[in-house]
């Protein structure tokens, strides 16, 4: 007999409670298993399918055949490797630029009192929610002016539309969480805002920058509409578009094995990052939404 049941007013025999609790616990664990299968099975199945060759692909054996021919073909395929490089280049540059611009804006919005602060925050939030297709015509013209059409660099410019408002918003909520006392002495000493940001706040912001950066990276790595529209030729594509455009010679020869191998390759780094930085990602996602 445990003390928890004794301390409560006893309404029913404790064996009833114990049995009830055990059933509830069993149902919860069963539901948890269902959730795990639901979320993980598709990715597992993609991996299993990517290691099967020929006719084996069409049998539904649950264990992977561990034949890595498709992966070797991918590594030998210069166009696919090129699109991986393009994706990495675009996502890294976008993340870096968005973090620099975001930190600077977040300092002003989170730490300095000025009359238009709320208005600027509202504008930033509004831009992060409007549909990308709305700016497509204007963006097309802009990219042609810069001579960037069909170049991966064009994508960096266009991705700033989604990532900059996003990093600004999240970093602002993070910066506000630091206690004011941190800079008080520096302000009294007449320290400039630039020095307060770079010497006092920035060294403390590693974790915040990590969570925001990961989210921006994932956003840029996964983007499809702009990448599809502003690149024309295979060697300038990013990975999502390359995968999206893989097509078979006919409906019955659809190369699902290759597509699954490419899908697993592209997603593996993301999943590794997500599992390692799980807590930071959740912190970033919820900082933007719940407290805003």
């Amino acid at each position: 007999m445990d003390t928890a049941t004794l301390s409560r007013p006893l309404r029913k025999p404790s064996s009833f409670h114990r049995a009830k609790r055990r059933i509830v616990r069993g149902l919860q664990i069963f539901a948890l298993l269902l959730v795990l299968v639901y979320t993980l099975f598709p990715y597992y199945w993609a991996f299993v399918s990517s290691t099967k060759q020929g006719a084996a692909l069409y049998h539904s054996a649950l264990v992977p055949a561990l034949d890595f021919t498709y992966y070797r073909q991918l590594i030998d395929n210069p166009i696919f490797m090129g699109s991986l490089l393009n994706s990495a280049y675009v996502a890294v540059c976008t993340t870096f630029l968005s973090l620099v611009i975001g930190v600077s804006a977040a300092y002003a919005l989170g730490r300095i009192e000025f009359p238009q602060r709320r208005a600027v925050l509202m504008i930033v939030l509004m831009i992060s929610i409007f549909p990308q297709v709305v700016v497509l015509s204007g963006m097309f013209e802009l990219i042609n002016w810069f001579g960037l059409f069909n170049r991966p660099s064009a994508l960096i410019l266009t991705y700033l539309l989604s990532t900059v408002p996003f990093t600004t918003w999240i970093l602002t909520t993070f910066i506000r969480e630091f206690p004011r006392e941190l800079e008080e002495a520096a302000i009294i000493d007449g320290c400039s805002h630039f020095r307060i940001l770079t010497k006092i706040l920035l060294p403390l912001m590693g974790p915040s920058l990590a969570s925001t950066g990961i989210l921006a990276f994932i956003l840029a790595w996964n983007e499809f509409l702009f990448a599809l529209t502003f690149t024309l030729t295979d060697e300038n594509r990013t990975v999502p578009v390359a995968i999206g455009l893989i097509a078979g010679t006919s409906r019955y020869e659809y190369p699902f094995g290759q597509i699954m191998a490419a899908s697993v390759t592209v997603t593996l780094p993301l999943i590794a990052v997500v599992l390692v930085f799980q807590r930071r990602i959740v912190a970033g996602l919820t900082a933007g939404a719940v407290k805003g």
């Binding site: 948890l32 409007f130 700016v135 097309f140 410019l157 700033l160 539309l161 899908s263 993301l270 996602l285």
Partner: protein, 296 residues
């Protein structure tokens, strides 16, 4: 003296905001303004410098196009159904992961996987699993004796919207779960302990305590998801290209603009998309505000 300091602060603030303002002007405000402008012209994409002003003709042309209304209906159906399912499922999973059960840490990590996978990849994965002849879903269903022969999930015009919603639910429920979990963790456990001592049954605790206290978290999550669903492009495009059964307003606008090269009409369609999303955003924010006002 303090006024002078304040002015110095204001100037510093704008200096720090300069990069973000330049970016917003360059990649948001300016392209948006150009889209609105092109919507009033008969320009074509191959040579946008030759055009004349046609005023509201493009807007009317879009409204007279049956495909546009199909796209609007698809988008609204997709948004309402997928967000409703995601909210219900997200709430259920969040409550489950909030309970002290073994393995919930693992599940919290696992739930991030569908969220991090690129939409294109998720779509391809499910397309393969739902393949009519070789897909594992049909194999399981026929193995259980539920169907005689494979169902053509993605080829059938009546099922494909269901598939799009299903895949979207798989991808975006994690986002809901995370936001609702964060909301759940803000509720102090003492309230539940008090209710427990008073002998209030579990369903009533959920209905009268948990749900009202989660209202703000769910409201914000629903707002984000609705606005995201209204602009959905990649999922339906990768699964079905311009198949009318799942064509969204974003796909319609891009088709007019890029595939048909109609810069003017495409921009007008984009402008309608903008107005549609703005209208829905205003309505939802209004409802949330009213809620909050009624609550206090």
């Amino acid at each position: 003296m303090s006024a002078k300091l304040a002015r110095r602060d204001h100037r510093a603030a704008w200096l720090f905001l300069l990069p973000v303002l330049v970016v917003i002007l360059l990649v948001a405000v300016w392209p948006l303004a150009r889209t609105f402008y092109f919507a009033f012209t008969d320009a074509y994409l191959d040579d946008p410098s030759v055009y004349s002003i046609v005023w509201f003709d493009n807007f009317i042309e879009v409204l007279n196009d049956r495909s546009w209304w199909v796209a609007v209906r698809n988008t609204l159906v997709f948004t309402v159904i997928s967000v409703a399912i995601e909210t219900g499922l997200g709430l259920a999973i969040a409550l489950l992961l909030n309970a002290a059960i073994p393995g919930r840490g693992l599940a919290r990590a696992a739930i991030l996987v569908p969220w991090a996978i690129p939409v294109v990849v998720a779509t391809k994965m499910w397309e393969w699993m739902l393949n009519d002849q070789f897909g594992v879903i049909n194999k399981i269903l026929s193995g259980l004796g539920l169907v005689d022969h494979g169902i053509a999930w993605t080829a059938s015009s009546s099922l494909i919207m269901g598939v799009v919603i299903f895949v979207d639910v798989w991808m975006t429920t994690p986002f809901m779960v995370l936001l609702i979990l964060a909301g759940l963790q803000l509720i102090s456990p003492e309230i539940f302990e008090a209710a427990d001592v008073d002998g209030i049954p579990a369903w009533k605790r959920f209905w009268s305590i948990t749900l009202p206290m989660l209202r703000p978290a769910i409201g914000v999550a629903v707002l984000f998801r609705v606005l995201d669903a209204l602009r959905m492009f990649d999922l339906a495009y990768v699964l079905a290209a311009s198949n009318e059964n799942v064509m969204t307003v974003s796909i319609y606008a891009r088709d007019r603009l890029i595939s048909f090269q109609e810069l003017g009409v495409g921009s007008a369609a984009s402008t309608w998309v903008f107005l549609l999303v703005a209208l829905v955003a205003i309505i939802i924010i209004g409802v949330l505000r009213l809620d909050r006002a009624a609550g206090t």
